[in-house]
Each structure stands twice: as structure tokens, then as C-alpha cells.
């Protein structure tokens, strides 16, 4: 009796770890990314150059950081279109304050505070007023960027006061050959992998995405949780914004424009499975596609077509997979 009970508890519907791995979309997205990298190495001289790889790694880190936040939103059945605007708002707050002579840490805290407020407003309108996430965050996409323009008077900022070098080092520097944003991405991915899988917050995010009604009936504080999800998403965008300001060494109000496409694409490529690693791998594939188009000399006008198509194909793949299951 105890034997059969134990075996029932241990039994899982997947057969072997290998079959389990091959069943995840993350695996296939990663395979596609690696394949694309190999092809580019053969087809172009420039892809495998240290300089290009460094650029790819850094560019993808910004998208991937936000894609991790977006993963929580998508796993809960929502969407956040305002991340590009949260990003520019945070970047603007940090640079305006630093230009005004404030320290990096104070300015960064204020920038994260601004992102938090954006997420809070998104979350409150969605969770408590019951408005559709698509509409709320679309409105915020416009509103937050406009606020960034007001803040900076639409001027470019490239002087960051006493902590100028610190900001540039943080966002644009590297240690042991790896760009700093990549370290932050790795740390965030590690932490959030644990949070998604092993905490009640993570479990409840998925419960809301699976059956919001059931989550409410079982007493999960669905509304509060939703607010926290949109705040988290905005904070990842804020973090990326601060780092991007340091990387570029200058901030303009078109920073992060249409970034939400790459972010949502990255988070969705992994089939919205809601793993931090999936978001990172998805973002990687998007960046490799973008980079390959440039290196292969294909007109940048085609970029949107390729990225958009690959997102739709990935989601279609996921649908088909779920229908079979």
C-alpha cells in the first residue's frame, strides 16, 4: 500500500528527462538560436568577432531583463505594452537628476520609484477597476513617454554630474570580458527562476493565468497579486532603462521605442511557459535574428517583418503542440 502510494506520488507523466527536455519549447527556441549562430559564423566573417558577440550579448541583455518581467505578466494572462515607455521614463528620471548634480544611487532610486508608480497605476486600473490590460497599458505607453519628454524638455542628456563615470561603467562597462548588463540579467534570471517555481507568489501568478475565477474562489488575493505583477514588469523596464542610459552615454526620448515588440516576442517565443530562462532564450533568439539581418546586409526595413513573423510562427507552434497534448 505504501509502496503503491509512493510510486503514484513519484510518477510523472513525462518519461525521461531527455523526453521532458525535448517537450519544452525553450529547448527548441534555444536550438534555433544556436543553429542561427552557427550559420552566421559560417556565412559571415563579422558575426563571430569578439566585438559583435559583445554587442549582441549586451543588446539582448536589456530585452531579456524586461522579458523576464513580461513573463510574469503573460503567465498571469495579461499583457504590458508600456514597458518601452517605463524604460524611457526611468532613463530620463535618472539622467535629469544626475545632470542636476544628484548622486547615482539617489537618482536610480527615484527612477525605480517612477517605474513603480507606472506599474502601480497599470495594476490598479486592471485589477481594481477591471479595465482590459491591453487598453490600460496602451494608454500608459503614450502617457509615460510623454512624461519623459516633459521632464527633459525633449533634449538629449549626456552629462550625468558627479557620478557620470559610475553610470557609464555600470551600463556600458565590462568585467572579465562580459558586459555588466549581462551579469545583472544572469542574477535576475537566477532569482526569478526560483521565485516562479518555488514561491507562493509564483504559483499564484500561474493560478491566475490558468483560471482566475478559481484563484479568487480559493481565496488567493488576485487583485493585489495583479498589481504586484504589473509593478514587477515596470521595475524590470526601469532597471533596463537605467542601464541603457549608462550604455548609450546619452538619453533621448525615443529610447526604447517599439521595444515592447521584442520583449513580448521574447517572452512568447518560449510559449508563455513562464520560465525566466524561457524569456531569456526567447530574447536571445530575437536579438540573433536582428543581428543576422544587419550582418547579412538585408535592409533594416525588413526587420519588423522577420521579427513579427517569427513571433507569430512561434505562437502558432505552441498552439499546435497544446492541441496534440
Amino acid at each position: 500500500m505504501t509502496d503503491t502510494l509512493q510510486s503514484a506520488i513519484d510518477q510523472s507523466q513525462h518519461r525521461s528527462p531527455l523526453a521532458r527536455l525535448a517537450g519544452t519549447q525553450v529547448f527548441w527556441v534555444l536550438a534555433a538560436a544556436i543553429l542561427a549562430c552557427l550559420a552566421l559564423t559560417v556565412l559571415t566573417d563579422s558575426f563571430a568577432s569578439e566585438r559583435n558577440l559583445f554587442n549582441v550579448a549586451r543588446n539582448f541583455a536589456f530585452v531579456a531583463i524586461i522579458a523576464i518581467g513580461m513573463t510574469a505578466v503573460i503567465a498571469s494572462g495579461g499583457i504590458d505594452l508600456s514597458v518601452g515607455s517605463s524604460l524611457v521614463l526611468a532613463a530620463m528620471v535618472v539622467s535629469v537628476l544626475m545632470e542636476g548634480g544628484h548622486s547615482f544611487w539617489l537618482s536610480a532610486a527615484a527612477a525605480m520609484g517612477a517605474a513603480l508608480v507606472v506599474g502601480l497605476i497599470n495594476g490598479m486600473l486592471i485589477a481594481y477597476v477591471g479595465m482590459p490590460a491591453f487598453v490600460v497599458t496602451l494608454g500608459m505607453l503614450s502617457a509615460a513617454r510623454s512624461l519623459a519628454m516633459v521632464l527633459s524638455n525633449n533634449k538629449m542628456i549626456y552629462q550625468f554630474g558627479p557620478d557620470h563615470d559610475l553610470l557609464l561603467w555600470l551600463g556600458g562597462g565590462s568585467t572579465f570580458g562580459l558586459p555588466h548588463p549581462l551579469y545583472i540579467l544572469i542574477a535576475l534570471c537566477g532569482v526569478m527562476s526560483v521565485v516562479f517555481r518555488w514561491t507562493r507568489w509564483g504559483q499564484h501568478v500561474f493560478a491566475i493565468g490558468g483560471n482566475e475565477h478559481a484563484a479568487t474562489l480559493t481565496g488567493i488575493p488576485v487583485r493585489r497579486l495583479k498589481v504586484s505583477i504589473y509593478i514587477f514588469s515596470a521595475l524590470t523596464a526601469g532597471l533596463a532603462g537605467i542601464l541603457m542610459a549608462g550604455w548609450l552615454g546619452s538619453v533621448t526620448t525615443n529610447l526604447g521605442q517599439s521595444m515592447e515588440l521584442a520583449v513580448i516576442g521574447g517572452a512568447n517565443l518560449a510559449g508563455g511557459e513562464g520560465t525566466a530562462l524561457g524569456a531569456v532564450v526567447g530574447a536571445l533568439l530575437i536579438e540573433v535574428i536582428r543581428n543576422s539581418l544587419i550582418l547579412l546586409g538585408i535592409s533594416t526595413f525588413w526587420q519588423g517583418m522577420f521579427i513579427g513573423t517569427s513571433i507569430i510562427i512561434a505562437v502558432a507552434f505552441d498552439r499546435i503542440r497544446h492541441m496534440k497534448a
Binding site: 509512493q6 503514484a8 514561491t199 504559483q203 493560478a207 490558468g210 474562489l217 480559493t218 481565496g219 488567493i220
Partner: protein
Amino acid sequence: MSRLKLTGLSRSFGAIQALDDVSLEVAPGEVLGLMGDNGAGKSTLVKIVAGNFRPTKGEIRIDGQLVELHKPIDARERGIEVVYQDLALCDNLSAASNVFLGREPVRRFGPLAVIDYPAMRMRAGELFAQLKTETRPRDLVRRMSGGQRQAVAIARTLLSKPRIVLMDEPTAAISVRQVAEVLNLIRRLRDQGISVVLISHRMPDVFAVCDRIAVLRRGQMVASKRAAASSPEEVTGLITGAIETA
């Protein structure tokens, strides 16, 4: 003293009067069958006792104590557990996660509270064994049969030591063998002194396990009598309105 006592309970949704001045008592260890046509207000009554809806009027007493149920957690803290009609399961989570939904056990590592999956699977496995179901704790609910899903929803109610279990049509979508299992489970709950309110459209099930039968018609309680003193014919008449009250 009654385990559960409802007095003058009313609830309206806009112009619809879903419950109209309903009074009802359930004794400890009693199984009450709640019957009525579609839209009679059965689910609404369950949801009020479960803390999902506030009544427009009326009061609820548990073991003689007046209670205000604002949220599901209030009801749960007073030992009220529910199996919802739509089961309230998350398809994308495992059976064990669904059993523990909203009350996952955690282990603390400093500031980090980590879900204790092994304990969850162990306990869920025990409950499934007790229910004699083929359900496995790790399986995703998405891939389960109707009966297995039902077992997950029922196992959820047994997690804490409940005083009252409300079941909204637990035998509607499952096989004959599992209907018998669910009815046996209801008897086991009763033997432990737990009160059960069973909503069902299936006359044989109700007469098989219920001590008393109450009938709702268009929001009004038209009968509440001992099952032994009634008959399927009488209950059918009460449900349809062929018999006014009993």
C-alpha cells in the same frame, strides 16, 4: 444546536431575486440534499455560505455563532469547505498544486519562503488514496478525466478538518463507479461528524446518502424534510411546482 443555520437569507442580482427569504438548518453530521430546478438559486446559496457573495439580507450562524463572511478565507477559517460546480481548478497546474491552491505549505530559508512540494505531493497522494482514485499528484489537471478532476476538487476540501462541506453537483459528470465512491466519501465525512450539503439533480444519489432534503424553487425554500418521510415523486413535484410546499 445546528451546525449551520440560515435565517431570512436573500440575495438579488439587479432585477433577479436569486434567493428570497431562505431559512435552513443543518445538524452536525447531517447530510442535507439541496434540490431545485436550474436557476433555482442553489449555487447562489452555496456561494453565500462560502463567502463569495454577501447576502442582501439575512444572517448565517455556525454552531450558534453569528458570522460575517466577507471573503472565502473567512468561511474557510470557520471550517466551511466547498466543491464548486465548475470545480475551480487551474488546468495549467498539477493535481497537488490544485489541492493546495491558496494554502501551499512553505519552508523558510531566512527571508525566502519556499513551497514544500514534497510535502504537498505526499499529502495529496494520501488524500487520493483515501478517495480510491487513480489521480496522481504530479499530473497536470489539463490532462485529467472528469472523475479525476472531481477527485482533485474533493481532496481539496479534506485538507483542513472541515465542519461543513458544501458540494455543488459533485456527481454530475463522473462514471457510475466514481459516483459510488463520492457517495461513500460523503458517508465517511458524515461519520466524522462533518455536515454535508449536497446539491444534485440526481434523485437516486440524493436518496442514497441524504438524511434530509430541502427544495428551492425560484429562490424560495419550499420544503425541508426527512428523506425517510419523503419520496422521489414528492420531491419531483416540489421542484416543478406541481406540489406547492411540504
